[in-house]
Structures are given as structure tokens and as C-alpha cells.
């Protein structure tokens, strides 16, 4: 028996599921929620342990002190640290009119983080079959990013800083969800190892049309030697926005905030 099977796209009868429409609705919710956000700034590094979250928090607090309305989306779901770094109050998340209110730091930074939701000391774990969990875990984390963007009442912001985990996968998910490619703030430490890891991540981001805003070199003046920031700046045609010492003064963050235009 020879079957003449048509292709997926040739079957065009309207169906109640409308899965493509549901996905489009999800994207529309993100776009609507971010309509009042002037700029989404992804804080990126391919390398773990270079201080992305530390730089994100220091910059966000300085921006808020300078009068810019600032939000932080902590996209490191497995190692969330924004609540502590921003000194967020310990309180339940409130829901109003089908949106979640972000937590607000003493300086006025609006933030949402998995750290606000998880039991103290507990890892991020999901219900469901643990066998072959690698198949669906990444998809669930991408869904969490979408919901953090779409369901939190970010309001009108000058800057929404997205603190990304190490690697490039979360950046790819972010870029796919946003109406346009985000600007990228690159964080590195001075070493050649960090430079090489950051280079890979930044290349991936640039291939997705992201615009590198500049590079911040963290942990300068300590045991880590090298010229990673200068090397990356030259290679990608972006400025070195700041060199953050081991013990940064408030002025350090204020100067960085002034350069993030």
C-alpha cells in the first residue's frame, strides 16, 4: 500500500489547540509587559565566577541612586543571588490584577528572582518524572524566563538588567523572547582564560544581533593577571566601561553608571 501523506503545513484546517497561536500569545505578553522598558541590558559572561551578579547589583544600585528607574531580572535560576546583593526585603510576592509585583530594594531597584520563591537552601527542583529530566528541564527554565519577563509588573523602566548565568544558552532564550535584540554588558576578570570563555559567549550573542555596550573588568588588582578587557574591547569594538577593584568604593559604581548610556 503506497500512502500519499501530505506535509504538516499542507494540513491547514483550524484546530482548537492552536498551538502556534498560543506561542504567539506568549510572545505578545512579553512584548506588552516590556513596552514601558526603555532598554533591556543583558549582563553576560561565558565564564562562571567572574562576578556578573555582583556587577549587576552594584550597577543597578548606582543607576537607581542616580535617579534612573531600574529593574533586575535574576535569570540565574539555579544560583540566584540578587535578593541578597540588592538587600531585598523578605516578604511574600504579591499578586494584583494577574501580575506579580516585583520586590523593591531600599534604593528602589525593582527585582524578581527565583531566590524569592525557593525554600532557603533548597535547589531549584521540578515536579515530574526524573528519568530523562534533561529533555524537559531546559524547556522549563526557558518558560520560567518567559514568565519572569511577562508576568512581573515591571512598569516603566529606564533599564532592565538581566543577570545571566554562565554560558550562552540563557542569552539565546532571552534574545528569542524579546521583541528586539538586547544590549549586552560584558563582564570578565583579567585572565586569558576568562577572556577566551567570554569571547565565545560574546560571539554567540553578536551572531544573534546583540549590541555589545562595553566590557567591565572585575577583580582587578588582585591575584588575577592579564588584559582580558582590553583584548575584548579591541576585538569587538567596544569600550572598557570600568575596572572594578577587589574592594570597590561607591564612586566606582557611580562612574560605571555614568558610562552606561
Amino acid at each position: 500500500m503506497s500512502l500519499n501523506i501530505r506535509t504538516y503545513h499542507e494540513l491547514t484546517e483550524a484546530d482548537r489547540s492552536g498551538l502556534a497561536g498560543q506561542i504567539a500569545d506568549q510572545r505578545r505578553r512579553v512584548a506588552l509587559r516590556l513596552a514601558g522598558v526603555r532598554r533591556v541590558l543583558a549582563v553576560l559572561s561565558g565564564k562562571g565566577g567572574v562576578g556578573k551578579s555582583f556587577v549587576t547589583a552594584g550597577l543597578a544600585r548606582a543607576l537607581a541612586r542616580a535617579g534612573r528607574i531600574t529593574g533586575v531580572l535574576d535569570a540565574d535560576f539555579n544560583g540566584p543571588t540578587a535578593p541578597q546583593l540588592l538587600h531585598l526585603p523578605v516578604a511574600s510576592c504579591t499578586l494584583h490584577d494577574d501580575v506579580i509585583e516585583p520586590a523593591v530594594s531600599p534604593e528602589g531597584v525593582r527585582c524578581f528572582s527565583m531566590g524569592l520563591l525557593l525554600e532557603d537552601g533548597s535547589p531549584l527542583a521540578f515536579r515530574g518524572p526524573q528519568a530523562e529530566s534533561h529533555v524537559w528541564r531546559g524547556t522549563l527554565e526557558a518558560a520560567a524566563l518567559r514568565e519572569f519577563l511577562a508576568d512581573v509588573a515591571w512598569g516603566a523602566l529606564d533599564e532592565l538588567l538581566v543577570d545571566l548565568p554562565p554560558g550562552v544558552h540563557r542569552f539565546a532564550e532571552l534574545a528569542e523572547l524579546l521583541p528586539g535584540p538586547p544590549a549586552v554588558l560584558v563582564v570578565t576578570i583579567p585572565t586569558p582564560e576568562s577572556r577566551d570563555a567570554v569571547r565565545r559567549a560574546l560571539r554567540a550573542a553578536v551572531e544573534q544581533q546583540a549590541r555589545p555596550l562595553g566590557v567591565v573588568e572585575n577583580m582587578v588588582g588582585g591575584p588575577f593577571a592579564g588584559s582580558a578587557a582590553d583584548d575584548l574591547a579591541g576585538e569587538f569594538g567596544m569600550p572598557v566601561l570600568a575596572r572594578i577593584p577587589w574592594h570597590p568604593a561607591p564612586d566606582t559604581w557611580a562612574e560605571l553608571a555614568g558610562r552606561v548610556e
Binding site: I5, S92, L95
Partner: protein, 148 residues
Amino acid sequence: MKFLCVECDRQMLFEERHVPGDGTLAAAFKCPACGRVVALLTNPMETQLVASLGVKIGGRTIDEQPLETVRGMVSTGKTDAFDDSGERGAGSGPRWSADAQERLARVPGFVRGMVKKIYSDYAKEHGLAEITPAMMDAARSELGLEGM
């Protein structure tokens, strides 16, 4: 994913959804020409994958809840992570029978407020004055709420 009735060369259309247990999601599709019905059964991993996309096979019948996927799927969430008292319509809407309240009380605190709202919305949508365990079962199956 679409289903084709090969004999009629017609796209089969979604009929209804069930969650019979064991992590299985069943979706029935019917040929509009010959009336033949087939059911798609997903294994627990496939069910989880569909749920993680935040889409509903058969379409949505009630509005998406804020952080629906996170609240429905995270198993290590704080009991008091959400204060639902400010939710629109809280304190009003359909009555909860004693049995239904008891069942709701067994839902983890992290997701309980959302589950309560979903069942309330379902009851309103269907013009039901009281939420009972039987209604919860019907809603759970119809909405594909595995485990809620």
C-alpha cells in the same frame, strides 16, 4: 503535531483531553469526514515536555495565570512565597464544599493560591455555584492539570 485520517485524507480535529493518571496525557482527535476517533497518549516525560512549553493541547479555556508554569512545576518553592490575598475576586465567587476545601488544603502552599483561582475560574466559566471534588476532577481532566 497534527493527525491525518489517511483513508479520508482529512485533518483530524481535537475532541477532548484527559489525564487518566500515571503522568499520561490523553488527547482524542476525530476525523470530520468519517468520524473515526484516535487518542494520542503521551508518556510522563512527553507530558512534562508539553507542560513545560506552557501550551495546552486543545486550547486554553481559562486565562493563563501569572507564573503559571513556575508555580505549577517547581517542587521546592516556599509555602508562603505568594500572598494571594490581593488577587482580584478573592473572597467572592463560587462556594467550596467541605470535601473540596479539604482537598485544596492538601495542595502545596506554593501553588495553592493559583490552583484555587483556576478552579474558581472554571466554576464561573461553567456557571457552577459550588466547587466539589467531582468538579475538580472534571476541571483537572478537561484543563490537563496533571497533579493539581
